[in-house]
Amino acid sequence: MSRLMSEEGIRIDGRRWNELRPVRIEVGVLKNADGSSYIEFGKNKIVVAVYGPKEVHPKHMALPDKSILRCRYHMLPFSVEERKNPAPSRREIEISKITREALEPALILEDYPRTVIDVFIEVLQSDGGSRCAGITAASVALADAGINMRDLVAACAAGKVGGRIVLDINDEEDKMGEADMPVAYLPNLKQVSLLQLDGKLTADEYRECLNLAINGCMKVYNMQREALMKKYFSTKDEEGGSVED
């Protein structure tokens, strides 16, 4: 038995194998943005803003039949153990790309031709799974911005730690564990829009891990819905029929 998993199947932070870390999602936290959200996912603390749909500059970059989605995943210098240079690292550039590709299938970009939609994900404090938390929060912020969507995107990792397949890897488990598999899922369409793997899994473990991650995504999805309901249906005065801004 590894020190990451007790004999009773209890993980280093007290969770069971199929348990998520504490999650909190807030909607509409920034005044200037068209949509925004804040997520705490374990020790991850992430703010997301959405600007758009808006005009494209320069104009010849615009697409005639749909909106361009742009995503930036960025970590603040003090969000990690060792101070991080504010310039985007190769890791941040890759995560920005796969985040865009994870969100894009959920958006009806055809409804906004010749425009651009910007998603800015700022990691204030990072823990294991920050890309999944960022995608989860971005999906909520896009909904908050009123962008037409086919589905929400819920993201969660599973992995292998101390020989066992477990849900939602934290920082220490990521560093010491055997495998980490971030997954983004469109719950109603039943489609996977992000899948990555670092670490070794047999084919059977891979399938178990994938299913467990999707299971976690469904739990995350419920929290996304709750957060949106809390903003939009707890008081009736913020939702009207007219398009503002």
């Binding site: 200037n32 020790k43 600007y51 808006k54 960025h74 603040l76 003090f78 101070r83 700022e122 404090q125």
Partner: protein, 289 residues
């Protein structure tokens, strides 16, 4: 190379409306000319930082984090620690902010905030030496603007000051010319609490803590940092307008008296955290108002 962009027609319309109100000593948001907006300071949100503070000044929202490392001193100051202040206006802070390296506005912001802290001698840099000429504490203050609604100078300054006041850094023992990190953490050596007060000139009026809308109409801006003894420590005039000598005299007096009020608010905000620093419950330190 720096370019100032202006949309003159909008500016002229706004200026008219604002000037009418200002002539009556009123502002668009109902404040008195010399009032700050509501100030909220939450410290300790970022556990991975040595100190942190989330500051809201009206709708302007900034977050500061302090990271303390061990580094080599400058050759000409072998017994002084380092203080490095960086600011960035995140692209999520406003429709006009863009990703990329800091532009001249963000560089000025960081340098003016740095100057207020450095010139007031808030931190005793000479107490941050560990091994003369070889090892000193390097204090990095990184501030990110989350929502920009005017007066980034004051909001950023308050965030850095509050984060520094509540920072705890690892204690080192020197053994055989090598540093050994102890479990114990200590606060930074603080001398004074400098307070930045920013005013804008619109027409003939001087107003405190301008919003983004007010900044779009202002002729000029001035930021003054004062220390606990009421001394002026740092000034930065900005904007393409001017001030008369009389205005500059009045502004200094105002900066001292307003600064004293704000200083009390900062001290109150950091007081519980400084006695209660290891409390991991951050439910109260919510980014959401």
């Amino acid at each position: 190379m720096s370019v100032k962009k202006t949309t003159t027609i909008v500016e002229q319309l706004r200026r008219a409306q604002m000037n009418e109100l200002l002539a009556l000593n009123k502002r668009l948001d109902g404040r008195g000319l010399k009032d700050h907006r509501e100030l909220r300071i939450d410290v300790g949100l970022i556990k991975k930082a040595n100190g942190s503070a989330l500051v809201s000044l009206g709708n302007t929202q900034v977050i500061a984090g302090i990271k303390v490392e061990v580094d080599e001193p400058f050759p000409d100051m072998p017994d002084k620690g380092l203080f490095i202040c960086n600011a960035e206006v995140l692209p999520l802070a406003s429709p006009y902010a863009e990703p990329g390296p800091p532009d001249e506005d963000a560089i000025e912001l960081a340098r003016v905030v740095d100057r207020g802290i450095r010139e007031s001698e808030m931190i005793s840099l000479d107490k941050l030496a560990l091994i003369s000429g070889k090892k000193v504490y390097a204090v990095f203050a990184d501030v990110s603007v989350l929502n920009a609604d005017g007066n980034l100078f004051d909001a950023t300054s308050y965030a850095v000051v509050a984060a520094l006041l509540t920072a705890r850094v690892p204690k080192y023992e020197v053994q055989d010319d090598r540093l050994v990190k102890s479990e114990e953490t200590i606060p930074l050596p603080i001398n004074t609490v400098p307070v930045s007060v920013t005013m804008a000139k619109i027409g003939n009026s001087i107003i405190v803590d301008p919003t983004a809308e007010e900044e779009a109409c202002m002729e000029a801006r001035i930021t003054i940092a004062t220390d606990e003894q009421g001394r002026v420590c740092a000034i930065q005039k900005g904007g393409s307008g001017t001030f008369s000598v009389e205005e500059l005299s009045e502004i200094a007096t105002l900066a001292v008296s307003i600064g004293n009020n704000v200083r009390e608010r900062i001290k109150n905000a950091v007081a519980p955290a400084s006695t209660n620093n290891d409390n991991d419950n951050d439910n109260d330190n919510d980014i959401n108002k």
